[in-house]
Amino acid sequence: MTRILVAAIVVASCAFGAAVHAEDSPQFRGVGGVGVAETPLPVKWDKNENIRWKAALPGRGLSCPVVVGKRVFVTACSGPDQERLHVLCYDVASGDKLWHRQIWATGATVCHQKSNMAAPTPVTDGKHIYALFATCDLACYDMDGNLVWYRSLEGDYPTLVNNVGMAASPVLWKNRFIACLETSGASFAVGIDTATGQNAWKVERPKVINWVTPLIIKNHGKDEVLFQGPSDVSAHDPATGVKLWSVAGSFSTIPSPSFGDGLVMAPGGKMQAIRPPSGDDKAKIVWENAKLATGYSSPLVYRGLVYTISTRGIVNCADALTGRTVFSQRIDGTFSASPLAVDGKIYFVNEEGATTVMQAGAQPKFLSVNNLGDTFLASPAAAGGALYLRSDNALYCIAAKK
């Protein structure tokens, strides 16, 4: 098991509690939000082979499926103005729909045509599912689909609107639901009490639209939640929201940072590796690499290497500790989804429905290209030896049939 996965599991066990396990995929990019899982997945599939099940969805979504135990959750939106917001729960083994809940959008539904109102990925602690939508509607359900609490964040903060479409996913830390909602109007990060849905803390953020998902890291035994904005990466105490440290620079407002080998990989026009503060050493950027720039997808740190995929399909790989480029290789397709590493292999899902599987390592070795002929913008999720792919209209569970 890699150091990254160990670190991710440690963070996850602290962040989510005992109900979430390493086999689960509880949030955007899975355990720890770093896009790494361990249980082997199929390497080859097509419309007939290794599709355990496929479920039709009631509408579009960019959100990833999240998986905990025997349940997989996904969000969607529908209606002429995307005013219907859906939360669906399926059985992992059979694909049977266990429940389906809807809420009415209370916030603005205008967005870029590539996005939609089900852009943020939900998050689960294994006891509840927290579904945030681009309308800033936020609903907490129990595992059986009973509403526990609900917030209309745009109702609370009426200028919390981004007409390109909000998309940052939330994270969980202990009893805090944490979201970073940055717009040219109301702009803030918030820690919400998971029991009541009420604000535990709220800190102002720059009034610039931003789609970056927060990242929770463990720095010298203490959990920190990182927010990446266009001009800095800042770390906050997830319990209180108090700012702990920051590094100034020019960073992306779309792909999200990742963490591995003690470094925060902060994407932007160039990838910048940030070493968090240690003792008297302040946080600092330890290397930069312009070749690792990405469009929409987030970086992957895996077994000592950092991988990125550009929108046009250039896979770039560099040494995670030094930033030295290792290889650059084109694969087919247009890419929005972030890469996923499982069992020594890396999965790149393109928008046209083809997933390229590559052997992880310094030499690019491609193992398969698996085409489903559907439109995929959501990042893949892996849990319990199954790969979950979410297209514009369906959820696929890719695994050997039981």
Partner: protein
Amino acid sequence: MRNLCVSIACAIILLSSRASGGSDLTPLLARIKAVASEGKGNPAASAALKELIKQGPEALPEILGAINDASPQAANWLRSAVDAVADRALSGGKSLPVKKLEAFVRDTRHSGQARRLAYEWLVRIDDRTPDRFLPDMLDDPGAELRRDAVAVVIKEAQEYFDKEQKAAASAAYRKALTHARDRDQIQLIAARLKKLGVEVDLTAHFGFINRWQVVGSFDNKKGVGFHTVYPPEKGVDLAAVYKDKDGVALRWQEHETKLPLGLVDFNKIYGNLHGTTAFAFAVVTSPSERPVELRASSNNAIQMFLNGKQIFGREEYHHGTRMDQHVGKGILRAGRNEILVKVSQNEQTEAWAQTWTFQLRVCDHLGAAVPLVVEKK
């Protein structure tokens, strides 16, 4: 512990309510409807919801009815209760109170959202429900029920068209156009009618204003103009002469746009300016007092005023447009009414950030143009 106490309190309220002979659900529904901003009231509402979803399906009409006067936040709590109660009933082999739900759907005094929710549960248990309901719903005050009713007529029209029965197709499309309120349906119908040789003036159909008095440009460098109260915002005098920051005289001028759907392009009037603000003003005469919506779209920061009162403001630049993206609600007086629009352009230099436009229409809550006359200067 706190949640446990709230749950016990809810249970006691429920039992005492039953003992007194009042509506069982009233106190629970009241706790849910009391939810307020920033999660205020959530613990009490959550405990009430737990009790509510233990109810049998006979409780559905009352829960649905509570949506009528609920806030948007509370409405989402209540719809979750409806779904949970109905789901549990069906999965437990119980039936839903079909007659009461049908009566609820047909009673247009109820909220359109609540009626639609009830309708969808009826569809879930009987897929012939649309055939029974939709033919009578072309004028429904609920947007979604009306939309589905219109969709049935559009489908009929297309079937006539496919059989080359052009007169019948045209009549059916015209019928659909009369009742349609959603822009995608209206635009689809207009496109189909065009194929049949019938032109639809969408600008008029939607109720876009295409004749304005305009004045500009005022300063908006560094975004100051959006927040500055310029003279037109204190009261419009079409004979007034204002001065810009350099002392240049600014006068109102008439502008009638020929662009589709009443689009006003300030760049065409004032040149490709940046860090600037302009106003558009129209006087409309209404035959009666009525609630009204001013619906606008713009890629720029925009404010709307009705009879001197600001009813909408959004300081956001070049983040995307969609027809009707901005909605300001107000009351149109019988007789003369003043509509003022303030549109601010920022200083971005990117090619995609050069538009300085808006469009505005006056309509009811469903999107139908309201009868009014736009005065000439």
